[in-house]
Amino acid sequence: MQEIKKDMYLIDKAELLQVIMEKKNALWRLCQICCSFPKAENHYEVTYSFANGYDFANYRLIVEKDEDVPSISRVYKSAIYYENEMHELWGLNVENIKVDLHDKLYRIDVETPFIEKEDK
């Protein structure tokens, strides 16, 4: 784990579940999961944000294009929406989402609109 800026930590996939469990047990609330794909870097950045009272912490995972990320929806139910969204809009594979809507969260015609075809 490495702090890249205030309240923002870089973690790797192995650390993810441990971090999540820690947060859950300490009654932190999941604020959001943000997926982005900076073109210059050519990889996904998945950011998990947590808050507890006024404390705030973000954990960032770097994910390669064809890599999977584990789902945290079994720990945080509300992650279902974020994870389905990541898959539907960004084409990021999330393993084992508790309620997998199979790209029907938003029923859109465009496939993974945030990633251009040739990138994928």
Partner: protein, 649 residues
């Protein structure tokens, strides 16, 4: 006449042997049809003959009365032994005690007790007239229906059960005989015998399938009915010991006269109270409703039989008989309150169930409650209403049970929820069902007329709180009654997305239902005639007066309403048939998939829509209401019995 009546009572018993011994199903069917035909013909002939003879009440004896007396004594003991044997066989020995106590009591009194006054054994009057027609016609039609139904039941659906159809059909005939005997008997001892036969027969019919549930329920029916039998036995005992008289009609007269003669009024009421108690058990009033509900495990024809023409009608018959002795006294109050309460409670409970047969069962209990309440009031109007209800109820209930049975055979379910859109899937069955339902509650059929008369009579009842309570019971009960029937009706008339399938109903089932439907319509149309030519003399006979219960004007209105119920929609149907209309899909907030039965679900796929009725299980559920209802009614009965008996001694 004597011969006819004797035949009417004895023939079914003897005929019962035929299906019992014939095992070829075609041949057996023939004899059952023939037997039913004979019973119908005989009962109608007897009734018509009596009617044409002027409709005078008559007392008469059977030939060889002595012999019959002995047969009855032996029969009583045989029934006791049978019950004892079966109870021990199924480890319910305690129940046999009930049978032993009462039979021993009656037998002992008969053999060793004081000599009782000799009187003719049988009696024929207007009430008997109505009853034999109901038993003969409705009962026999059920018999005809049973042949086809039981065939399907064993051959197609319940291959796992032992085929005891011979036994089943035989029992049906036994039932007829017992019922005929019951309505003719003048002597309580005879009445008691036939009463016990119906109890035992129904017990055997309920246990027909011999599943655990069936056996449990049949014993439940047995002990409740035996408890009622105890009531009659007690009445006999009092009659023998106090008055040396076991004549039902004399007891009623004594009870009425006592009012005017200043003799210990309450003492004369005790036998009446005992009889009333017996009748309450048989007519499945709370707290004794359990047995009738349990009776549904039996194949449908037996439910139809128990609910409509026989069994429960025995109780109601007895109550109507003794009603004149119950006017404005504690026994009457008890009966009225129990009936009124049952009317309300059972109709509430009917709301919470979705099994079609169970709804019918609760509605039977509820309807009987209204009848019972009417008899408890004991006024001309209420008796008038009660008899009307008995007639309507018999026909429409029998029809409804047959129809639900046929639906179950055809669609595989008797759940009301599964009858969505029956009108488009099986229009014939649906129409029968609808006529039956209409007969049960729609203005201006049976219920309405009876409610009208009952309300009026109860307002006039002397006891202030009984009157108030009864009015409330009826007002609330009729609201709940409307609820469960309407929701059923709306299910049938809804739209259905299912594919049409083949109607498996047998022809003879249809014949029976068809006759019922005709009878229903005939009754409705003939209701003014019925009122003036049957019910008026009846009331004259019972009360010595013949007031016009319902005004001529109101009869006209009812006819108008009634014609309206059929004719107005029919005219409108014709008028609107050719209206130009653009077909649209139903409104589902924009989520309609295009066919009224599916919608676009949250996951984007079509999902089947299902619309279920209200059942209000949180408010009116069996779990919530059943036990309290039993407790309330038990308290009513106990309190009043204490008042009546305590007052007597």
């Amino acid at each position: 006449m004597e011969m006819l009546v004797t035949a009417l009572i004895c023939l079914p018993f003897l005929w019962a042997i035929l299906p019992a011994v014939i095992h070829n199903s075609k041949c057996r069917a023939f004899f059952v049809y023939l037997g039913c035909g004979i019973v119908i013909a005989l009962s109608v002939f007897t009734a018509v003959k009596w009617y044409l003879a002027g409709g005078q009440a008559m007392d008469f004896d059977l030939p060889y009365k002595e012999a019959f007396d002995h047969v009855i004594l032996v029969g009583d003991i045989f029934l006791m032994c049978l019950i004892t044997y079966l109870s021990f066989k199924y480890k319910k020995g305690v129940i046999s005690l009930l049978a032993i106590v009462q039979t021993v009591l009656v037998a002992a009194l008969e053999l060793f007790g004081p000599k009782v006054k000799e009187l003719p054994a049988l009696h024929f009057d207007w009430l008997t007239f109505v009853m034999i027609l109901i038993i003969g016609v409705v009962g026999s039609l059920i018999g005809i229906y049973a042949v086809g139904y039981m065939h399907g039941y064993h051959i197609h659906h319940h291959k796992e059960l032992t085929d005891r159809r011979s036994f089943f059909l035989a029992m049906i005939f036994v039932f007829f005989g017992a019922m005929f005997g019951l309505v003719f008997s003048q002597s309580l001892i005879w009445l008691y015998f036939f009463w016990e036969i119906t109890s035992v027969t129904s017990f055997l019919l309920i246990g027909y399938t011999r599943t655990d549930e069936a056996i449990n329920n049949s014993f439940k029916a047995l002990w409740m009915n035996l408890l009622g039998g105890c009531g009659i036995a007690a009445a006999i005992a009092i009659g023998v010991l106090l008055y040396q008289n076991v004549n039902l009609y004399d007891m009623i007269k004594i009870a009425i006269l006592s009012k005017y003669m200043g003799i210990s009024t309450t003492l004369c009421l005790v036998p009446i109270a005992c009889l009333a108690f017996a009748a309450l058990t048989k007519s499945a009033q709370f707290p004794f409703s359990g047995w009738l509900l349990g009776a549904m495990v039996a194949p449908t024809p037996s439910s139809a039989l128990l609910h409509s023409a026989t069994m429960v009608k025995a109780g109601v018959y007895l109550l109507i008989r003794i009603s004149v002795a119950m006017a404005d006294n504690y026994v009457g109050n008890m009966v009225a309150l129990v009936g009124g309460f049952t009317f309300l409670a059972a109709s509430c409970l009917a709301i919470s169930v979705s099994d079609g047969k169970k709804v019918l069962a609760y509605s039977t209990i509820s309807n009987l409650g209204l009848i019972v309440a009417c008899t408890g009031c004991g006024y001309e109007e209420t008796i008038w209403a009660a008899v009307f209800l008995v007639i309507f109820h018999a026909v429409s209930k029998s029809m409804l049970f047959q129809c639900v049975g046929a639906i179950e055979n055809t669609t595989g379910s008797r759940d009301v929820e599964d009858m969505q859109g029956l009108i488009s899937l099986f229009p014939k069955l649906a129409v029968v069902l609808m006529i039956g339902i209409a007969g049960m509650f729609l203005a201006p059929f049976g219920m309405l007329i009876s409610k009208w008369a009952a309300l009026k009579a109860f307002i006039d009842t002397t006891s202030v709180y009984v009157s108030t309570l009864m009015v409330l019971f009826i007002c609330f009960g009729s609201a709940t009654t409307m609820f469960y029937w309407t929701k059923w009706l709306s299910k049938i008339l809804g739209a259905s997305g299912k594919e049409k399938s083949r109607d498996l109903t047998k022809k003879n089932e249809y014949i029976s239902m068809f006759f019922h439907a005709i009878m229903m319509v005939a009754l409705i149309l003939g209701f003014p005639w019925l009122s003036s030519h049957v019910l008026k003399p009846m009331s004259n006979e019972m009360f010595g007066t013949d007031v016009q219960v319902i005004s001529y004007q109101n009869i006209i209105i009812m006819i108008v309403l009634l014609v309206g119920v059929f004719v107005i929609p029919a005219i409108n149907y014709v008028l609107t048939k050719n209206t130009k209309a653009k077909q649209v899909i139903t409104y589902m907030g924009g989520a309609n998939c295009g066919d009224n039965f599916n919608f676009v679900s949250s996951t984007g796929d079509p999902k089947e829509m299902h619309i279920s009725n209200f059942y209000m299980e949180d408010i009116m559920g069996e779990k919530k209401l059943f036990t309290p209802a039993i407790m309330v009614s038990t308290v009513i009965i106990i309190v009043y019995m204490i008042i009546v008996i305590g007052g007597a001694f």
